[in-house]
Amino acid sequence: MTTPTAYAAYTRLEARAALRPHHPWACALLVVIGIGDGLLPGIPSIQHFFEAVFGARNGVHTILINDYTGLLCVIYWVGVFDLLRVYVTPAEERRLALYLTKPISRTRYFVSKLAPTMLILTLVNVVGMLAAAGGVLAFAGPADFRPGAFIATSLMVFALAVVMLAIANLAFLFVRDTYNAILVAAAVFIAAVLPGGMYMYRPDLFSPALKDLLVFPANLLWHEDDAPAIAAIGVPLMLAAAAVLTALAAWRLNRTDTIKA
């Protein structure tokens, strides 16, 4: 007989399975990035580059522009590979139909895998934030560092990563193998970071509003004073968007009848 306890056991098993060996490595990488970025303002040509191109006002900004980029990259890509385990690889390895014949709803299957993954990514993000803050304080000192703005901005970066993951996750339901899934994930990633790269070479293409909206991650530092207020609105908005996209993905999974055994 199916009991709530049985589902609790399933949820617990999924939660345990969500923690993978690459998560500690991702944390280690974020620490390395935190330390490595801390060294950047010490290289005059790099500091000059970030001042001239991205309007960095001090060494802390240079460190943080790189930290936020690193945080987004690591959280997003670790998340992508975690999400592949939800649908793409089980379908590819013909395990999905076997799972879905068990008496759990597809939504429960979906959520039981997604929820612990998001929790672990949150923890990895916290490690990344601590490493970034540590790098700034150790190498640039506390003078130009504003903890409130840093926390708000880091949360914005995390929320952006979550929205990107939600988009990729939805798209994964339409691809048939890992390679194509990575291709889709790469497209989402490039769409997010390309404006920042493009801005280096064609700032004339960006109106002030477009610049503030798209030139990640420098835009988060241009409005440092307003960061807590922006995050107070932006983070819930982005998380809500991610939730809607995830609900859409669950709906799509429920309607999919082409799962191959």
């Binding site: 013909r94 048939r176 193998d177 191959k260």
Partner: protein
């Protein structure tokens, strides 16, 4: 006559599990030889050792005179193999997959295209020749599996549980194909199964494996007579129960 397959004291030890234990038997050229045993008896391990996919812990084996350890590539060059459990690349078609497998034998060009046509006809795959393998039923997959095992015109064919996924008609066809291959082309066939009726249909000689040990090997009719069992099922059960009794296990 030199045996096509000659196995002597073949043993495979995995840590504390002896998967194959001192197995000795031989298969004559051009015969369809049945290799019988329950799941986990050691049939697959034995076949994989014969193809050089696993290294024996002890003993030796030769396929058409070639040592399976020292000369495993030569063995594979003259052999066809259908594993018990496998999948086919979902994005390929039967035609592209068979061409791909042929290329692993260094074969290409018109002879391969002709061979593929012949195999597609033989296994009645002509209509699905250009369809993606991802959508194939298990029976159709098994037919492609059998076709790939024959792409190199093998002299020895190893089939591991070949009839498991087939429907009754497919099984009858398979047995017919095996008999034809042995009779017309002189192909030696060693096929493992736990479906005992297949053995009676296709083989004159068998080897029976139980928990890695060889219980009996030889002419099926002689074995039945020796044990006073009219049918293959009875022979198998008699031998297995005897082995279990010797091991102190109550059936």
């Amino acid at each position: 006559m030199t045996p096509a397959i000659d196995i002597r004291g073949l043993t495979k030890q995995y840590k504390d599990v002896r998967a194959v234990d001192d197995v000795t038997f031989s298969v004559a050229p051009g015969e369809v030889f049945g290799f019988v045993g329950h799941n986990g008896a050691g049939k697959t391990t034995t076949i994989q050792m014969l193809l050089g996919l696993l290294r024996p812990t002890a003993g030796s084996a030769r396929v058409l005179g070639r040592d399976v350890v020292a000369d495993s590539l030569a063995v594979r060059r003259i052999s066809g193999f259908l594993p018990a459990s496998y999948a086919l690349p979902r994005d390929m078609t039967p035609v592209t997959f068979l061409a791909y497998v042929a290329s692993m034998f260094g074969l290409s060009g018109k002879p391969v295209r002709n061979k593929i046509d012949e195999l597609l006809t033989m296994f009645d795959l002509g209509k699905v020749a250009k369809k993606k393998l991802g959508g194939f039923s298990s029976g159709m997959t098994q037919k492609v599996g059998l076709a790939q095992a024959l792409i190199n015109d093998p002299q020895v064919l190893f089939l591991d549980e070949p009839s498991t996924a087939l429907d009754p008609i497919g099984r009858a066809d398979l047995m017919r194909h095996l008999a034809t291959l042995a009779r017309d082309k002189g192909v030696t066939v060693l096929f493992s199964t736990h479906i005992l009726s297949d053995i009676e249909d296709a083989s004159q000689r068998v080897a029976i494996l139980h928990h890695g040990r060889l219980l009996a090997a030889g002419d099926l009719a002689e074995l039945k007579a020796a044990h006073g069992t009219p049918r293959m099922d009875d022979l198998y059960l008699t031998l297995v129960r005897g082995a279990m009794a010797r091991e102190g296990i109550t059936p």
